[in-house]
């Protein structure tokens, strides 16, 4: 037993070392930097909690926080919701299931940057795909990215990008449900919708919970799609915490304040993951 512990320690040591050097150490450094007014390199002044006070009074940061939470809501409802519907539909067909599986999973393999560029061209006012179609059909051009619409317009590719990921998880979970359950239910005269709500969903609830936690925490990492499509604009209307942190730390050379925003993102991520786990805690369904 003692020997086993030694092996456990030895095998885990490289992983701990790598995590420590590349994750925990930079994070501690990041926390320290949040107490400085600094460009991260040569100009550095200790300012105590000034960056945190600024964060509390920063309207753009507040807007970015609410935008991130709003995106989180859309992502959770639509990414997991659409993925669930698609998974149930694909599971119920026998022919062409492979084709749909590949098609729905496909956006995952495209990088966020490429999808961002793709949607930039789709939304473009003068030469974009949508407006070209409208003009050809005899309609007026539409300004797709406005202060009112920009957040929805970045939510669409964000949702599309990751639906396939949750679709695969949920499809696998559904396919693991033994057929006996459905056969027994069929003998009891269960209908299609009842089968979905009373049988399928309760039996995959733990996988759904995982998907929801992943969707919620994943939203805090959203950066490249928003950055490429709107750069957080117009007038900060689609600013999210990731883009605002990048702007402050790397474009404005305000690394200290950027670090403060990074701390907020981490704290928010951990809190949301913890709260979601608590709220969704339910006895595991076994079969």
């Amino acid at each position: 037993m003692k020997g086993d512990k030694l092996y456990i320690f030895l095998f885990l040591a490289p992983a701990f070392a790598v995590t420590g050097v590349f994750l925990y150490y930079p994070f501690v450094e990041n926390i320290l930097q949040s107490f400085y007014k600094t460009d991260g390199f040569f100009n550095s002044t200790f300012v105590g909690l000034e960056n945190y006070v600024r964060l509390l009074n920063d309207e753009i940061a507040r807007g970015a926080l609410f935008n991130s939470l709003e995106l989180m809501l859309y992502v959770t409802i639509f990414q997991v919701g659409i993925a669930l519907i698609l998974a149930i539909m694909v599971n119920s067909i026998t022919k062409g299931a492979g084709f749909f599986r590949t098609t729905f999973f496909f956006p995952i393999v495209i990088s966020g940057a490429a999808i961002g560029l793709l949607f930039t061209l789709i939304y473009n006012y003068r030469n974009g795909l949508l407006n070209e179609m409208l003009v050809n059909l005899g309609f007026e051009r539409v300004l797709w990215l406005t202060e009112q619409s920009s957040l929805y317009m970045v939510a669409i590719p964000t949702i599309w990008n990751y639906v396939g990921f949750y679709f695969v998880i949920l499809l696998t979970a559904i396919q693991k449900i033994p057929n006996d359950f459905y056969e027994a239910a069929q003998l009891e005269g269960i209908t299609g919708m009842q089968k979905m709500f009373k049988l399928t969903i309760p039996l995959i609830v733990s996988d759904l919970k995982t998907c929801i936690v992943l969707a919620i925490t994943g939203t805090l990492k959203i950066f490249e799609l928003v950055y490429i499509i709107t750069k957080g604009g117009p007038a900060n209307s689609s600013e999210v915490l990731g883009t605002y942190m990048y702007q402050k730390a790397f474009q404005d050379s305000a690394m200290g304040y950027g670090a403060t925003l990074a701390v907020l993102i981490v704290v928010l991520g951990l809190t949301l993951a913890f709260v979601t786990n608590k709220l969704l805690q339910k006895d595991e369904v076994t079969y």
């Binding site: 460009d39 991260g40 390199f41 040569f42 604009g233």
Partner: protein, 436 residues
């Protein structure tokens, strides 16, 4: 089984030791290199200096899409051929997206500075200069600063010293598609009134008057402030809160309301704005002299001319330009003080800043050189060079001299000014507050 466990344990230990050794090896070799180099330096001062091999690392922005990249590498190859004992590592990186700033700052703060560097001698270099990381060129032994035009003097910092030697200058201005102006019977705008008339006339057509991104509005902001205040106000400190600055910002809204920009100007970026101009869907664009490369590639250089921003302010004069030389060659103090490297670094510096090299690199970009002149220029490029030559005054862009957060605020607030949510005065007030 027990034997197997022990072999596994041993194997793992070897891997760990191997990894640790690799790490040490690298540091060790660097340390050894440095020691050897300095030892050699001492030896060579007594023996034969020119035979010792010296490795230099050069960081520049002449890479990626910069047309000077290829010529610069050729210049380095030529130098190495003449000096076989000097090996140069060209660690250039494109200036796009500002990653070069992070690279240079990281290099200098981690004691891994390049020996020579072609970098921004603007607010970006403040930290390096204050920390004494780069050499005062006027006091550096062997450094030749002769033959420069006025661009050298523009490099003088507030402390009175020159730390960077310029390569070539740039200018910004109003690029105008002459062909579209002719086709639509619009006068080329040399006055503020003509400029506004051109906006009005093109707004009635399918052609966008000015291709611009209001979110990425660097050049628009600069030129509107210059037009409203002339050079005296343009070069004032941000803290002075000059009225001309807020007036300039408010003029952007006035012109946007007249239909000067595309309806999506707040969400397109500079690249898309440039595309509008290059596809002849826009009549004017505010850009810098580096834009000629793209225009030539698009085969429309001859259809385009560059004009100075029409200045309407009292005391101002049309012809005043945003421009200068914001980049220059720096020598790192660490390298200069290293006896083994000093001669090689100074020699390479003098080679790179010789008139022959400067003109050779400037030929590739079409920019006005800091020494000598370019010959056989096409008319449109020559017109740009003449603008600089005849300018009553030339000043660096605003973002080269003010706190970055303040400029970002000015720039990214333009969509809100255009939509009427903020006024120029409010935006300026906040920008000043940010700089404190």
């Amino acid at each position: 089984m027990r034997k197997f466990k022990w072999s596994l344990l041993l194997a793992l230990l070897f891997v760990v030791i191997g990894l640790a050794a690799c790490g040490n090896d690298e540091t060790g070799s660097n340390a050894d290199d440095t020691e050897n180099t300095s030892d050699n330096g001492e030896d060579t001062s007594a023996d034969e200096t020119e035979q010792e091999e010296v490795n230099l690392r050069v960081v520049t922005t002449m890479a990626g899409t910069d047309p000077a990249g290829e010529v610069f590498q050729q210049v380095l190859d030529d130098f190495q051929e003449e000096n076989p004992n000097i090996k140069i590592e060209n660690d250039s990186q494109s200036a796009d997206a500002g990653t070069i700033r992070t690279k240079v700052n990281t290099d200098f703060s981690s004691d891994n500075e390049p020996d020579l560097m072609f970098y921004f001698n603007t607010v970006d270099a403040d930290g390096l200069i204050e920390e004494g990381k780069v050499v005062n060129l006027e006091e550096a032994e062997g450094v030749d600063l002769s033959g420069y035009n006025s661009m050298l003097e523009q490099q003088r910092r507030e402390d009175g010293n020159i730390y960077a030697a310029p390569q070539s200058g740039f200018y910004e201005g109003l690029f105008v598609n002459k062909k579209l102006f002719e086709e639509h019977g619009v006068e080329i705008p040399t006055t503020w009134e003509q400029y506004e008339a051109a906006i009005e006339k093109f707004a009635e057509t399918d052609i966008v008057p000015i291709a611009a991104s209001t979110e990425d509005s660097y050049y628009v902001v600069e030129h509107y402030i210059l037009a409203a205040g002339g050079m005296e106000n343009y070069t004032a400190d941000l803290a002075d809160k000059k009225e001309a600055w807020s007036e300039g910002l408010n003029n952007i809204k006035k012109h946007a309301d007249m239909g000067a920009f595309t309806p999506d100007a707040a969400t397109i970026d500079l690249a898309l704005a440039q595309e509008l101009f290059k596809q002849e869907q826009a009549a004017m664009i505010f850009e810098g002299s580096w834009f000629w490369g793209q225009l030539e590639e698009a085969g429309m250089g001859e259809d385009v001319t560059v004009l100075p921003m029409p200045v309407y302010a009292e005391g101002g004069e049309t012809g005043e330009l945003v421009g200068g030389a914001s980049q220059g060659w720096f020598i790192s103090t660490k390298s200069y003080e290293d006896e083994a490297k000093k001669d090689a670094v100074v020699s390479l510096f003098n080679y790179l800043t010789s008139e022959e090299t400067i003109v050779k690199i400037a030929e590739a970009t079409g920019q006005p050189p800091a020494k000598g002149e370019l010959s056989d220029l096409p008319d449109y490029l020559k017109a740009g060079h003449d603008l600089v030559k005849n300018a009553p005054s030339v000043a660096l862009p605003i973002n080269d001299r003010i706190y970055p957060e303040s400029f970002t605020h000015l720039r990214t607030s333009v969509p809100e000014i255009v939509s009427g949510d903020k006024t120029g005065e409010e935006v300026l007030e906040k920008a000043v507050e940010m700089a404190k």
